[in-house]
């Protein structure tokens, strides 16, 4: 056999064998396909969309603003325990301040009854219903109740859903639903901006450290180590204390600290990518460092970067809520989920719903973003390609 022939024999028709069989999909198309085929990821994504709709479009549909107070209707829960009133189809709700509110059968709050006389001995208060009818509130023993025409305690109450304030009001009489919308908006905004800033700082810092390597890398990473040995929460609080109240300072506080994780992730990725042949190829071509960093290294590290960002969003939200909760966050009357929780703790025993609702929203947000982050990580892993 002639050695030379081994190379010549095959002709061009081998091209047939190497036709592309897989349907052409872009990288993003692939990611989207895998993402939407994971139920938890899709669920998380839908939750995020719903949350965005809730906080962006929602305020259009409520008649209240986040700061409008109505002291007469403070701390009205979403579910009302009502007693039959004197007129047909009317009901009476007893507030925590021992006042009577007229509620119709559907749950709309009609008016607050005027107090006539308080008999502290009998522990009864009379209220004017109309010109010639009085209703009596009996608070001699629990549960407080209303007396019927014959002066007997009405023991059977029914429960109606508060139609005027769907999720009730807080202790200043502000609509909780509306405040939740604005609070979610603030929380998401803080989180998105903080995540974006963190991403930019982290990518640049980690990218440079990983790409330059050597001593520069050591020094830069030691700085990151030093920053991260002290709990980030402490930093944020300290930074926040030095700045004024308000949204901007929260964002600055969050942005100036959380990038260390991102920097670590990016640096690790860049370190492992920079000796791959496509990066060497870019060097032999003579591409600039900028091109190598931003069109070769960073795009290939995008998977872990995106995952880190989606994981960073819930922690930023949590941090914002936490700061607002301990009272160094958003200035009142602006609502944030954290301030709402904080306000609610004062009356936690009597009005648990005031804490439960914002806490629930925080949970939903965290769940949603964690699901999305998880799904993204799986979707961006090309080894799972179907």
């Amino acid at each position: 056999m002639n050695e030379q022939n081994r190379w010549e024999r095959v002709s061009g028709d081998a091209g047939e064998a190497e036709r592309i069989y897989r349907r052409s999909r872009t990288f993003l198309g692939d990611v989207w396909f895998r993402f939407t085929h994971k139920p938890t990821a899709l669920f998380g994504f839908i939750l995020v969309v719903l949350l965005l709709a809730f906080c962006l479009i929602g305020p259009v549909f409520t008649p209240y603003t986040y700061s409008e107070q109505n002291n007469k209707l403070a701390s009205i829960p979403p579910l009302l325990k009502v007693y039959p009133g004197p007129a047909e189809g009317s009901n009476l709700y007893i507030t925590q301040g021992l006042k009577l509110i007229e509620v119709d059968d559907e749950g709309h709050l009609i008016r607050q009854l005027k107090k006539k006389k308080d008999d502290s001995k009998a522990k009864q208060t009379s209220f004017t219903w109309d010109d010639d009818t009085l209703v009596y509130l009996d608070y001699s023993r629990l549960p407080n109740t209303v007396l019927d025409r014959d002066g007997n305690r009405i023991e059977t109450a029914k429960t109606v859903w508060n139609r005027t304030y769907l999720l009730g009001t807080d202790q200043l009489g502000r609509d909780i639903l509306t405040r939740l919308m604005y609070g979610t908006r603030i929380s998401l905004m803080v989180a998105f901006i903080a995540a974006l800033v963190n991403m930019i700082i982290g990518i640049t810092y980690g990218g440079i450290a990983g790409y330059l390597g050597g001593r520069t890398d050591s020094v830069m990473m030691r700085i990151v180590d030093i920053i991260s040995t002290i709990p980030l929460t402490l930093y944020v609080i300290l930074i926040k204390m030095c700045l004024d109240d308000g949204l901007l300072s929260i964002i600055i506080a969050l942005s100036s600290v959380y990038w260390v994780d991102m920097a670590r992730v990016v640096r690790g990725e860049v370190l492992s990518l920079k000796n791959q042949e496509f990066v060497l190829a870019a060097k032999t071509i003579g591409s600039s460092t900028k091109t190598i960093l931003f069109s070769h290294l960073i795009p290939n590290a995008m998977g872990p970067i995106l995952v880190t960002v989606t994981m960073l969003i819930p922690s930023a939200i949590f941090m914002e809520a936490f700061m607002s909760f301990i009272g160094i966050g958003i200035a009142p009357p602006m609502a944030s989920l954290g301030t709402m929780c904080n306000d609610a703790t004062e009356t936690l025993r009597t009005n648990p719903y005031q804490l439960f609702l914002p806490a629930l929203v925080i949970c939903i947000i965290m769940f949603a973003f964690n699901f999305v982050g998880d799904g993204l990580r799986d979707a961006l892993d090309p080894k799972l390609k179907k």
Binding site: M1, E3, Q4, R6, W7, E8, R9, V10, G12, A14, G15, A17, E18, I20, R22, S24, T26, F27, Q276, E277, F278, L280, A281, A282, K283, T284, I285, G286, S287, S288, T291, S295, H296, P299, N300, M302, P382
Partner: protein, 323 residues
């Protein structure tokens, strides 16, 4: 086409050591010298891990040489900074070993092939760039439809052609092929090699062609250099190395190719290569091959053999040859 006698590439005493922790060094390339005439091909062979890639990457200056000189078309490029190197990068390009790892999975074929044009600001307009990329892709047998796809959708052979298109679009004069076909199917290997030969004739390219077995190299090379543990042990014309291998390592390499050639079969000593490649961190003293050489003597263990011309144009470093 200009005629001149300066070799396209001349490498003198090139050395590349990598730090390997606690003051140890990997002697990846040690005192390697060779030159390649314009339009010719030097094949570089050796076992895996003997420093071929390191040598190629140092020559093209993606690794910093530890010492030694590199002359590209007469100009010393061994001490230039990356910025100063930029104009020289147009003259030398590289085709990589792994067609999967050498293309960025996040870029379309068009962007990959256009990258050199963009790095050197060659095209004034997008239109012009598009035209050049299309023409280059056609020459490597890919069409416009392939240009907008991502590299991961292609087969190995197609990817390697994209790699070739990227290397050749700048019209370089020297192309370093680092095992361009060893990751491909045999049938596709032939296509790629034929394409490389075709471009060599058409564009008068100079190749440094790296491979790990001699059979491949013979077909493409004018000269062949054999590397062992970071050093060049034998270098001569391609046919000569098959007809009269002098270094025992070359003989061993040749006998490890299954060639039904009775004349060669007679020449080999019944055995191929035995043992493993010693660590390049602590290379053996004297002749580095003595640990595996069937003819090793006391002298081989102590004294490094000189690089001598055993026959006209046939260089070898071995104590058995007394020129």
């Amino acid at each position: 086409m200009k005629e001149n006698n300066t070799p396209m590439l001349q490498v003198q005493h090139l050395t590349k050591h990598f730090p390997a922790g606690s003051h140890k060094l990997v002697h990846a390339v040690d005192d390697v010298s060779f030159s390649i005439e314009r339009g010719k091909t030097l094949g570089l062979v050796g076992e895996s891990g003997c420093g071929k890639s390191s040598c190629a990457r140092t020559v093209i200056r993606i690794y910093e040489p530890t010492s030694g000189k590199i002359f590209l078309d007469g100009a010393d490029i061994s001490a230039l900074t990356q910025k100063q190197l930029l104009p020289f990068r147009r003259k030398m390009q590289m085709i990589f070993q792994d067609p999967y790892a050498s293309l960025n999975a996040r870029m379309t074929v068009h962007d990959i092939v256009a990258e050199p044009l963009r790095a050197h600001n060659i095209c004034a307009t997008r239109q012009e760039e598009h035209e050049m990329v299309r023409e280059m892709l056609e020459r490597v047998g890919l069409n416009q439809e392939h240009a907008n796809r991502y590299a991961h959708e292609f087969s190995g052979g197609q990817r390697q052609r994209v790699g070739i298109a990227r290397a050749l679009i700048l019209r370089p004069e020297l192309v370093i092929c680092d095992e361009p076909i060893s990751a491909l199917d045999v049938s596709i290997q032939a296509q790629v090699v034929n394409m490389l030969r075709h471009f060599q004739e058409e564009l008068n390219l100079t190749y440094l062609f790296i491979a790990h077995d001699l059979s491949m190299v013979r077909y493409v090379s004018d000269d062949v250099g054999v590397m062992y543990l970071g050093q060049l042990v034998e270098k001569c014309a391609a046919d000569e190395i098959y007809a009269h291998p002098l270094h025992p390592y070359t003989v061993g390499l040749l006998s490890s190719i299954p060639v039904p050639n009775p004349r060669l079969a007679k020449e080999k000593d019944g055995s191929g290569l035995e043992g493993d490649l010693p660590s390049p961190i602590d290379p053996p003293s004297g002749c580095r091959f003595h640990t595996r050489c069937p003819f090793a003597t006391e002298r081989c263990r102590e004294e490094a053999p000189a690089w001598q011309e055993a026959a006209p144009g046939h260089f070898v470093a071995c104590h058995r040859i007394n020129g």
